[in-house]
């Protein structure tokens, strides 16, 4: 059995985090659930293996999504992990800043089905594979 690819989910709403993680599992992915950005940075630093993608919310309780993104991109080993931002606000400046920092996609929460978002993420995973191959 091949090892499942892992996707890190950073979302401070417990219910949403629960739904996303469950769906990732059902989609043959291994979710790494984080309810805050600090926790996510800790995981990245301590986990034996880096996640294949990150699902990031913008509005988070302490450190927000943008600061997390800056920290992520500042670290060369983490910088290559594809990030998909899923937020309840997609104002011009937020989208602009995130994409400028290298986010792969900025999606508006409630507009997309879980299936669709996970398909999008999977798209970036396979992209990774092909680029390596």
């Amino acid at each position: 059995m091949t090892k499942l690819k892992s996707v890190m989910v950073i979302e401070d709403e417990t219910l949403l985090l629960q739904a996303i993680s469950k769906k990732l599992e059902l989609s043959d992915l291994n979710p790494i659930s984080c309810s805050g950005a600090e926790q996510a940075l800790d995981y990245l630093a301590s986990l034996p293996e880096l996640p294949s993608a990150i699902w990031l919310d913008y509005h988070l309780k302490e450190m927000d999504g943008l600061s997390f993104m800056q920290k992520l991109k500042a670290n060369p080993t983490w910088a290559t992990i594809p990030v998909v931002v899923v937020s309840n606000s997609a104002s011009q400046d937020k989208v602009h800043n995130m994409l400028a920092l290298g986010a792969k996609k900025y999606l508006l929460k409630a507009e997309y089905r879980l299936d669709d978002i996970i398909d999008t993420i999977k798209g970036f995973l396979s992209e990774e594979v092909t680029s390596i191959a």
């Binding site: 219910l15 469950k22 104002s91 929460k109 409630a110 879980l114």
Partner: protein, 774 residues
């Protein structure tokens, strides 16, 4: 009648009269001469033709007499049939017959008869033995030479005539038989048909004693022969008198007036009629008449022409003189009648001019005197009037001035009161911005006392200004002072106590007639609170909406998972309920999106980012996006565009929203199989989009509320529960912000058409903070 015309008329009448008399005389004489000639011609022709016929008859008679005397016939007739010699003699007779026949083609048959009237030998052997005892050939022929009148031969089936003569002993006169010839009429007719000199209508024909034609008629042809009887005057006379006549007028068998003559031919008891139409006789006269008539007309025309030329030369000077007199009568004494003619008329005209001059001179003198006296009187009267008017004016002016001053004072007081007590900050400055007037609201808004303000520069650092970049103030002064235009904008100002506030300002230069700035009038309003309230309202909606998205996402995702069977299979009923939750949640998502869009537009923070856009592609794309919904209802959507529709500079994201909303409505509120048409046209300065459907329509009583927030048609709310009532409000907001117009027409249960315009030159870009759907 004018002189020249009466001269021409008289001469023309005389000339015409003269010519007519000559014409009549010539006509009469030439007719007489022609008739004379014609009579002679007819008579001579008649005589010649008669001789011709008679000599022909005579020659034929001689022939038959000669045959009668031929010994061969006698010898044959005397010989008994039983002798050996008989056949030889008969052969000789036959030979003789053949010679006779070959000598004259007109002879059809020659035969001899015995005294018992039986035909003995004939050139036509069939006739031998025929009994001729009742035939004139025999009965008259045995008495002496006989000419048989023209008859229709039953034997040869053609017209014939004949001759017979006795065969007798020379001395004793004993009759041995009779010889006869039967001839056709060709030779005889030929004689009559030989063209004589009696013209186009002339003819000659023979009439027998039965008064019947025996030769053809020129006008009626061959059919008359032996069939048509003729009883004209000259035929009757001919048979009565049995003579040769001279020419005379009579009516012929056609009842046409002719000139004719007759001759009696006693041998055959025939009459030869020679005649021709009188009209032909007169033909030359008609020709002469025609030439004469043309010459007369030409003559009269020449007469009129030369006459008018001559008379003009005489009457023209007289006319000019008359015209001159008329002009002078009307009062133009400057007019000169004088002509250069050397004759009496010329002298008369020159005399007339001399007379006119002397009248003119005396009149001028009288006029001059009258004018001088009148002028004196008028001058005196005018002086008097002027004095009177001046006095009246002074009184009037004084009165008016007083009233006007009072009125002005009252008006000014009203204005001052109004301006003083208004809530707006009102300042009037000179052209350098030095404050000349400030109302009480200035003190209230800025905190500076009236005395602190007067004489200072408006909006300076010393007073309420100076908080903003210097370029802002520079631009402001440039607008109002250099460009002399009115300025509207916001300033960040500070009160005397240091508190900042935002002022919405309008400053207008007041110009003199020559265009110089006299004053500036500045009106400002403190909008700090209003702006704050506005901002809070927008922020609230925005925040609330964003916050709503989190629970909406949770509901969406969990119900999605339930429906997917991620938490185990659901019963049909469970599935239905969860699906209801899912759909309701989607509506809430849509509602939140609409509310957000509206709050963005209302707050004016929306970004307008125009780019050249192909509207056809844009609408096509929207239709593609909505294709599932269209197909689901089996509807047809047709897009057509103006052939020369170029790209328009608009914000495609915003305008897409307009089309999407209008089309979504059209699909939603049109029953299955309905039609939706989109037509994009343009005129000189606008692009006009039209979206029509064949749907339920909008009730007439709701028409004014269509673009209001949360409005949904009463007739459709029951049918389509889904809908926020915000779509058209959003559409109108976008169209308005794009400097366009939107309107519609609708008829219940027939359909609705929406139109909206966009400026052809495009929409100006606008900086802002937000976009739709974010």
């Amino acid at each position: 009648m004018k002189i020249n015309r009466s001269i021409i008329f008289t001469f023309t009448v005389l000339f015409a009269l003269f010519i007519s008399i000559i014409g009549a005389y010539v006509n009469f004489e030439s007719r007489k001469a022609l008739i004379n000639d014609a009579d002679n011609l007819v008579k001579v022709t008649s005589e010649i033709k008669t001789q011709h016929v008679e000599s022909y008859l005579e020659s034929q008679k001689e022939l038959v007499v000669m045959l009668g005397a031929a010994s061969i016939f006698r010898d044959y007739l005397k010989e008994s049939t039983s002798t050996v010699n008989y056949p030889v003699l008969k052969q000789k007779v036959v030979d003789r017959f053949e010679r006779t026949l070959s000598g004259d083609k007109n002879i059809n048959e020659v035969f001899i008869m015995k005294p018992n009237a039986l035909v003995a030998v004939s050139s036509d052997p069939k006739h031998e033995g025929v009994d001729k005892s009742n035939d004139f050939f025999f009965t008259k022929g045995k008495l002496g030479p006989y000419l048989k009148d023209i008859y229709f031969s039953e034997v040869s089936k053609q017209r014939s005539w004949g001759l017979a003569a006795p065969i007798a002993d020379e001395k004793t006169g004993e009759l041995y038989g009779v010889v006869a010839l039967r001839l056709n009429t060709d030779s005889l007719y030929k004689i009559l048909q030989i063209k004589s000199s009696i013209g186009e209508t002339g003819e000659e024909f023979l009439v027998n004693k039965n008064r019947t034609f025996i030769t053809p008629s020129r006008f009626l042809g061959d059919s008359v022969i032996l069939s048509k009887s003729i009883n004209t005057e000259n035929v009757t006379e001919c048979f009565n008198k049995k003579d040769n006549s001279s020419a005379a007028d009579h009516l012929d068998y056609r009842n046409v007036a002719t000139i004719g003559a007759h001759s009696y031919i006693p041998e055959m008891e025939w009459c030869l009629i020679t005649k021709f139409d009188k009209s032909e006789v007169y033909k030359p006269v008609y020709k002469v008449n025609a030439v004469f008539a043309i010459s007369t007309i030409v003559g009269i025309l020449l007469f009129i022409l030369t006459g008018s030329l001559i008379s003009n030369s005489i009457t023209k000077p007289i006319e000019e003189l008359q015209k001159g007199v008329e002009i002078i009568q009307k009062g133009n004494l400057e007019y000169k009648v004088g002509t250069n003619l050397k004759n009496e008329i010329g002298q008369l005209s020159r005399q007339f001019d001399v007379m006119t001059q002397s009248i003119k001179q005396s009149r001028t003198e009288i006029d001059k005197k009258v004018e001088e006296q009148t002028k004196e009187i008028v001058e005196k009267s005018t002086d008097l009037q002027k004095q009177q008017t001046a006095i009246l004016n002074i009184l009037d002016d004084a009165e008016k001035e007083k009233t006007r001053s009072e009125q002005l004072a009252a008006d000014l007081q009203k204005f001052k009161l109004a301006v003083d007590s208004t809530e707006e900050h009102v300042v009037i400055t000179d052209s350098n911005g030095i404050i000349l007037y400030a109302n009480s609201a200035v003190t209230k808004i800025t905190g500076f006392e009236h005395s602190e303000i007067m004489g200072k520069k408006a909006g300076s650092r010393e007073l309420w200004g100076g908080l903003m970049e210097t370029t802002v103030y520079e631009n402001f002064w440039q607008t109002i002072k250099t460009h002399k235009q009115s300025f509207t904008g916001e300033f960040k100002n500070k009160r005397k106590d240091g508190e900042n506030y935002i002022a919405e300002a309008n400053v207008t230069p007041i110009l003199s007639d020559s265009g110089e700035v006299l004053f500036f009038v500045g009106i400002e309003r403190n909008v700090t609170k209003a702006k704050e309230v506005d901002r809070m309202k927008t922020e609230f909606i925005s925040l609330a909406s964003h916050q709503l998205r989190t629970p909406l996402s949770a509901m969406k995702w969990f119900s999605e998972m339930l429906l997917n069977g991620d938490a185990g299979p659901l019963s049909t009923e469970q599935k239905e309920y969860v699906n209801n939750i899912y759909i309701s949640n989607e509506r809430m998502v849509a509602l939140v999106n609409s509310l957000l869009n509206i709050s963005r537009i209302e707050s004016g923070r929306i970004i307008i980012d125009p780019e050249p856009t192909d509207l056809r592609l844009l609408v096509d794309d929207v239709i593609k996006e909505l294709k599932n919904k269209i197909d689901e209802k089996h509807q047809t959507a047709i897009l057509s565009t103006h052939p020369d529709l170029s790209k328009v500079n608009i914000d495609p994201k915003l305008i897409r929203e307009v089309y999407k909303n209008l089309l979504t409505n059209a699909i939603k509120y049109t029953p299955d199989k309905g039609d939706i048409t989109i037509f994009i046209s343009k005129n000189e300065d606008q692009v006009i989009s039209q979206v029509s459907d064949t749907g339920y329509g909008i009730p007439a009583k709701d028409k004014d509320r269509v673009f209001q927030k949360f409005y949904r048609g009463e007739n459709v709310v029951k049918m389509e529960t889904d809908g926020t009532g915000l779509g058209l409000y959003l559409v109108k907001s976008i169209v308005d912000s794009s400097k366009g117009k939107i309107w519609f027409e609708s008829s219940e249960n027939k359909g609705t058409t929406f139109w909206f315009t966009l400026p052809l030159k495009g929409v100006e870009a606008k900086e802002g903070e937000v976009r739709l759907n974010s």
